[in-house]
Amino acid sequence: MYAVDMKGITKTFGDTVANDGVDLSVEEEEIHCILGENGAGKTTLMNVLFGLYERDAGEIFLHDKEVNIRKPSQAIDHGIGMIHQNFMLVNRLSVTDNIVAGAEPKKGIRLDRKKAVKDVRRLSEKYGLKVDPEARIENISVGDQQRVEILKALYRKADILILDEPTAVLTPQEVEDLFRIMRELKESGKTLIFITHKLKETMTITDRITILRDGKKVGTVETGDTNPRDLAQMMVGRDVVLSVEKSEREERPVAFEVKDLNVHNPTNNLYLRDVSFEIEEGEVLGVAGVEGNGQLELEEGLMGLRPTESGEVILRGSDLRELTTRERKKIGIAHIPSDRLRRGLIAEFNLQRNMILGSEWDRPFSRRGFLDRNRIKEYTEEVIEDFDIRGGTADVDAKSLSGGNQQKVILGRELTRDPELIIAAQPTRGVDVGAIEYIHGELLNMRDRGVPVLLISAELDELRSLSDRIIVLYEGEIVASLDADAVDERELGLLMAGEEVEG
């Protein structure tokens, strides 16, 4: 008997087929992995199961009974709980409020807050999910927030739990803790569906794996019968080079230097304290750390997008700290922002207009404030060609491109300005494998041409394969500076979690 049996699920958005006749069979009390690249249709399939999307075709059976799920409330009634990749939590409300909303304990017409808090506390003790029921979401860590998400599902008595890319935001140690919780949940009789694109995690935790590619099911395998290479092959549809080749480099003069930089972010009250580092010509400096430990403040502080309190930012001998963002761009800082859609592109503008963002007052695109539209169009077409941007001409809006191609638009715009320094933050987030390879290649290319690169990333593999050196940020401070070739993942994980490492 299957806990979940989905047959021939099809879901389209406009002309895009996100799921094309997908079958999925999940046994009771197993951890079943759905593996696939970004855009393969994993989340869409689960959103259909959870009732967030209405399917165009297909049938769903739970414990051998056909069900008709059209709304999340129906999925919840059938014992399905979903832990979303972007947590579905309200920052301003307490842990308890977030958990009980929609199924509140009542006393007369009031919400019985005392009982609610007690229920949450009991549940969190029962499953070993430690959180403070009275804390506000905005004041607790990402790992705690994830526990709240799991508690939300358990509070509703879910016996089928969907976890959508749950490890993306966690340190290696937190991942281990999550896996412990997942095993315990399985032993207490729950069925777990685990969505990921990370091969190593799949091999560690799951019983069976269903692979999706381009909205279609490729196959289902027993975890014990497979290996990462085969999985990668099924996931991408061709052989994948899992590591990049990086040329040897010799010591060269320092090109970019940050001394005792201090930044304060009042919204999350994070202080970036006395951050100092140097980057040589043709060197990639990686910045590791769990998100929210000062990466954004560093990125935006260096670009003048956020006020800095003290320190020096020196590019080839001159201090940038008094310069505006526009001036920093003009002297040659290329910036690939961590939040592509919020910062890097204007979704409603066409590619031509996106391509001149930041240089709309400069020659050759503008003369005395008047735009040279022919020149802009030519340039855009060149970049589309050179950077292999697919799915668009110069006249389409940026929002119609896929994530990978949007990132190539930003990369093209920033790298064709002859940069003196590249600040690349999360350059491959949410991007498919082909584009990742391309972006890595371009960044190494710039490195080989002598450009210093600051690479801020949450992907440890990316940091290790591209960087020459790695610094680790923890609570706004640099806690370690390491040679990229000599570092191992476990050590990096401990440093990111703020632990001391003997060394």
């Binding site: 958005f13 959103n47 959870f50 967030l52 999307y53 209405e54 709304k71 999340p72 409330s73 919840i76 009634d77 979903m82 979303h84 579905m88 939590l89 309200v90 920052n91 301003r92 409300l93 409020d97 977030n98 009980v100 909303a101 929609g102 199924a103 509140e104 009542k106 017409i109 009031r110 919400l111 939300k152 509703r156």
Partner: protein, 312 residues
């Protein structure tokens, strides 16, 4: 100078303040509910106007001002319902739809006034609400001067504000409303019906604004005149923002606005040597100064003005 201060801080000024704050505070709480659920409500103005008109019409045809009040609440809810259908179901831009609703309500009430009663400027006089006093409060010093012999809607307003605060912060429904305005997708994944919560909140805002309108037309003038709301809906929206999307805060802000308005009226009446226009500016100038100098930076609900639909 002493005359001026005495005029400003007299009991009469404060009593006038409470009177003038009543419709604004009611509509402001309407704005609070609507915006807490995520719908920007510029349309308060039109809802007040509709309520004022419906109140007079109800009283005119039945002779009973309380039926008028009922009409005001029903028709205020009705136009709010139209607004909700446009903003929630058809995903209209909230601000634009609100402006449209206000123009629609202005045209409709003026047109109906002429169709029903002929004149373009004002309606005939109708039976208004009686002034009442509350037995116990009658005996309390100071308070008795402030809120005795007021329209019953003044007392109802105080009760509703407290009830609204309780509903929003102490009940399951209130939690659902707040969650919807902050993060509708979170509410949805908890099985909360996002649209239904928004409909409820917007329609409630219409009922409250309609009641505020009834106070304008049946509470002291006992008739309807063209564009009677005269910008109170916008003031109410501002009061709601000042009040940090909290009914009690909205009441406080309404008091602030109407205090400066009451002072302005008092100053006009004691014949100072200052031009009327300058005195009339006071409430507006104070609003701007408070808004620009506000120490507390307001933090609106996070999903305010956004549309929710899972498949877009």
């Amino acid at each position: 100078m002493n005359d001026v201060l005495a005029a400003i801080f007299s009991i009469n000024t404060l009593a006038a303040m409470i009177r003038m704050a009543t419709p604004i505070a009611l509509a402001a709480m309407g704005g609070t509910f609507s915006e807490r659920s995520g719908v920007i409500n510029i349309g308060l103005e039109g809802m007040i106007l509709t309520g004022a008109f419906a109140g007079v019409a109800g009283s005119y045809y039945t002779g009973n001002p309380w039926v008028g009040v009922l009409f005001a609440v029903i028709f205020g809810s009705l136009v709010a319902g139209i607004f909700a259908v446009f903003t929630v179901k058809f995903k209209a831009n909230h601000v634009v739809a609100g402006v449209g609703l206000n123009i629609f309500a202005l045209g409709l009430t003026t047109w109906l006034m002429q169709v029903l009663w002929g004149g373009r400027g004002v309606s005939p006089n109708v039976n208004g609400l009686p002034r009442v006093s509350i037995p116990v409060l009658d005996k309390v010093p100071v308070v008795n001067k402030l809120i005795t012999n007021q329209s019953p809607l003044v007392y109802i307003m105080f009760a509703l504000i407290i009830g609204g605060w309780f509903l929003l912060f102490k009940t399951p429904l209130g939690l659902r409303i707040r969650m919807t305005g902050e993060r509708p997708e979170a509410a949805d994944t908890l099985g909360i019906n996002v649209s239904r919560v928004k409909y409820f909140s917007v329609i409630l805002s219409g009922a409250l604004s309609g009641l505020g309108g009834a106070y304008l037309s049946l509470g002291y003038l006992n008739m309807f005149s063209r564009n009677m709301s005269a910008g109170r809906g916008y003031m109410a929206l501002a009061a709601n923002i000042f009040g940090q999307w909290n009914p009690l805060g909205g009441l406080g802000a309404s008091f602030l606005f109407s205090f400066s308005e009451a002072v302005q009226l008092r100053l006009q009446s004691i014949n100072l040597n200052i031009a009327n226009e300058l005195i009339q500016m006071i409430p507006y100038a104070i609003t701007i100064i408070v808004l620009a100098g506000a120490v507390i930076k307001s933090r609106p609900p996070e999903a305010l003005g956004e549309h929710y639909g899972t498949e877009e």
